[in-house]
């Protein structure tokens, strides 16, 4: 079977997968909030920019984005590390989807709440940050946690640019011991261990939200 060193190598890969996923959560979260706000803006141009971003990103597969970030930018003479290319791609990818999820949640806050905020003369800033977003966040937590699972699994595409995260670690070990079934079962089990708690959390939160709404 596997030696301790090989197992440690897999765990190191797991760590990089987690790092990459965290970059996706944080970077994608910040950029995604901006996208969501652009999408619900009063100004048509801003809405178009937001929609254009979402359309472009959703129309390009993540591994291709990683290729572009890694090899495309290298052509300009700049050599960027695989981690940066992968993190940037995941961020751009997650922002498009989170932006869409959050836009839906913002629009799910009843129209009357916007009117009530307007009628109290609240500025656009306070209307969004004191009234609409706190209510949208409640709705957004379950689908957002659910999407984190997608982000974790999608970090495995970083394999295409040779970034040594969990899947790539599995490949490297397999190249020396050639036991693909065992090794990739272990890799799969680790992904499952990372994702399963989040999936359960998302379901629990959703149930709680539904109970409160009833």
């Amino acid at each position: 079977m596997l030696t301790t060193n090989q197992l440690l190598f897999l765990l190191q890969g797991t760590l990089w997968t987690v790092v990459l996923a965290l970059c996706g959560f944080i970077g994608g979260g910040i950029l995604g909030l901006i996208i969501a706000l652009l999408r619900v803006s009063k100004r048509r141009t801003l809405r178009w920019i937001g929609a254009g971003y979402v359309q472009c990103v959703q129309g390009v597969p993540l591994p291709v984005m990683m290729f572009i970030a890694y090899f495309g930018l290298a052509l300009t003479g700049r050599n960027i590390p695989a981690l940066v290319a992968a993190a940037a791609s995941i961020t751009i990818f997650a922002a498009a989807y989170l932006g869409e999820i959050w836009r839906g949640c913002i629009e799910a806050v009843p129209r009357t709440q916007w009117e009530a905020a307007d009628s109290l003369a609240l500025s656009s800033f306070h209307k969004h940050f004191d009234i609409i977003l706190p209510q949208a966040v409640r709705l957004a937590v379950p689908p957002t946690v659910g999407f984190m699972v997608q982000i974790i699994k999608n970090t495995s595409y970083a394999v295409v640019i040779g970034f040594v995260e969990l899947t790539q670690s599995g490949r490297i070990i397999n190249n020396s011991v050639f036991e693909p079934f065992v090794i990739f079962s272990i890799v799969g089990a680790i992904y499952f261990a990372l994702c399963f708690p989040l999936s359960r959390l998302s379901q629990t939160l959703e149930a709680r939200l539904r109970a409160r709404g009833a």
Partner: protein
Amino acid sequence: MSSPSSAIPIVEFRAVRKSFGALEVLKGIDLEVSKGEVVCIIGRSGSGKSTALRCITGLEKIQAGTITACGHAIHAPKTDLRQVRQEVGIVFQSYNLFPHLTVEENITLALRRVKKLATNKANAIAARVLKQVGLSDKINSYPEQLSGGQQQRVAIARALAMDPKLMLFDEVTSALDPELKGEVLKVIEELARGGMTMVLVTHEMYFARQIAKKIIFMHQGRVHETGGPDILISPRTPELKQFVGTGL
């Protein structure tokens, strides 16, 4: 009937037209409300009365005509509606309290954010207006913990806290059962007695007759009949006769 020339008009509509797409809901409205006056707008559903009320604070944009409220030209694109909305309070049929904030926070939010009052001053105002609507003990409750009537009284308190010159009520008792209607109407009645200028869209004919100085009957997007509360007893037009015939 025209207001006495000494009265200061606080709301004035001139030839106001408003459409939702191809549907014209206000077909040239003229009306005025003087300072200290209580005006009730009545009429069937779809007669345009709620729309007219909402136009006063610019919640609905009009296509033609002019509206002045508290000295502001509402129809003018340059008018700062936030300034207007500090002077004109509005209460909605569905209360529209903020569900994630306590009663106190609902009331103090605009005081702190818009009027830039310190928290202790805002809280003092919240305590005062809550006392006015008889809900001092609910200050730390969340809206979902209150009955419909209580929520509506908080909504009134929230509007009052801004110290408005004019209060608008958009069918504020329509979502309440008869028992809860009473407590809300009582609060409105006390406001009227205190001299607050108010415009109410209402289906409560008996209440309108008691409280209103002026009744505006809207029919098919027009002001069909205007007069004192007595027009509810002896309407001049057959449309109003038919309307109150089913109500009183």
